[in-house]
C-alpha cells in the first residue's frame, strides 16, 4: 500500500498526537475515571492504526519493526507479573497491594474518601504495564496483518 493523499496524511498527522495523548490520559487515570489499561491501550493502538492506514505500511515498516513490538509486549507482561511477585515478597500474598497506605510512590492515603493521582498503590503501575502490553500487542496484530495482505498485491 502506497499511502493515501496529502490531505489524509496531514489530517492523520494532526489527529495522531491528540488520540495518543487521550489514550495515555485514560491509562494514567485508570484508577480515578472510567477506563484503564486495556481501554487506553486500545485507543493508542487505534491511533497507530490510523497512521498505518494513512501513510502506508511500508512507511510504518521502515520506522518500527514487529520484533521490537513483541519485545515491548513481553516487557509489559513481565512488568505485570513482576509487580504481582513483588506483592508476594513484600506483602505476603500474590497480587497483594503492597504500596497502599505507605509514603512511597502512589502510596498516599485518600483524603475524605476521594482518591487522587498519587494514591492507589500498585494499581497505576499495573495499568501502565497492561497498557504497554495492549498497545504493543494490538499494533503488532494490525501491522502483521497489513504487511501480509499487502505482499500479495505486489
Amino acid at each position: 500500500m502506497k499511502g493515501m493523499s496529502t490531505i489524509v496524511k496531514t489530517i492523520a498527522n494532526i489527529g495522531f498526537p491528540i488520540i495518543t495523548i487521550y489514550g495515555l490520559y485514560v491509562i494514567a487515570h485508570g484508577h480515578l475515571t472510567p477506563g484503564g489499561g486495556f481501554q487506553g491501550g486500545a485507543i493508542v493502538a487505534s491511533g497507530l492504526a490510523l497512521l498505518a492506514v494513512a501513510h502506508g505500511t511500508s512507511w510504518v515498516e521502515s520506522k518500527v519493526k514487529e520484533h521490537d513490538l513483541s519485545m515491548l509486549e513481553s516487557l509489559g507482561a513481565l512488568g505485570f507479573i513482576g509487580l504481582a511477585f513483588l506483592g508476594l515478597l513484600m506483602g505476603g500474598a500474590f497480587f497483594s497491594n503492597f504500596l497502599v497506605d505507605t509514603s512511597m510512590l502512589f502510596g498516599a492515603i485518600p483524603v475524605d474518601g476521594a482518591a487522587n493521582i498519587n494514591t492507589g498503590g500498585t494499581l497505576p503501575l499495573m495499568n501502565f504495564a497492561v497498557g504497554l502490553k495492549v498497545i504493543a500487542g494490538l499494533f503488532a496484530i494490525v501491522l502483521v496483518m497489513a504487511i501480509a495482505t499487502n505482499k500479495e498485491e505486489d
Binding site: P34, I141, V144
Partner: protein, 90 residues
C-alpha cells in the same frame, strides 16, 4: 430447501422459543440476587486500595488472577498471529 436446513430451522426455532420464554420470565431486571461480595467491594474500595474506580480495583487487586489469565490469553493470541504470518513475509 434440503433436509439439513429443515432440521436446523426446526431446532433453532425450539431454542429461540425457550430463550425468549426464559428471558420474559426471569427474575426482574435491576434486582440482582448476590449481594455480599459486591457490597463489600463497594464499601471498601477507597479505603483498601485507594482507587476511585471500583472496576479497576476489582480487575487489578481483588481479582488479579483473572487479569493474569486474560493477559496470558492475549499474549498467546498475539504470538500465534505473528507466528501464522511469519512465513509469508519473506
Amino acid at each position: 430447501m434440503n433436509q439439513r436446513n429443515i432440521l436446523a430451522a426446526a431446532f433453532l426455532t425450539i431454542v429461540a422459543v425457550f430463550l425468549m420464554f426464559s428471558a420474559l420470565f426471569m427474575h426482574p431486571f435491576g434486582e440482582p440476587t448476590s449481594q455480599a461480595m459486591d457490597q463489600y467491594i463497594i464499601d471498601n474500595t477507597v479505603g483498601e486500595t485507594g482507587a476511585n474506580n471500583g472496576v479497576t480495583s476489582v480487575v487489578f487487586d481483588y481479582r488479579g488472577f483473572d487479569t493474569l489469565g486474560e493477559a496470558t490469553v492475549l499474549f498467546t493470541a498475539v504470538a500465534s498471529v505473528v507466528m501464522l504470518f511469519r512465513r509469508l513475509k519473506k
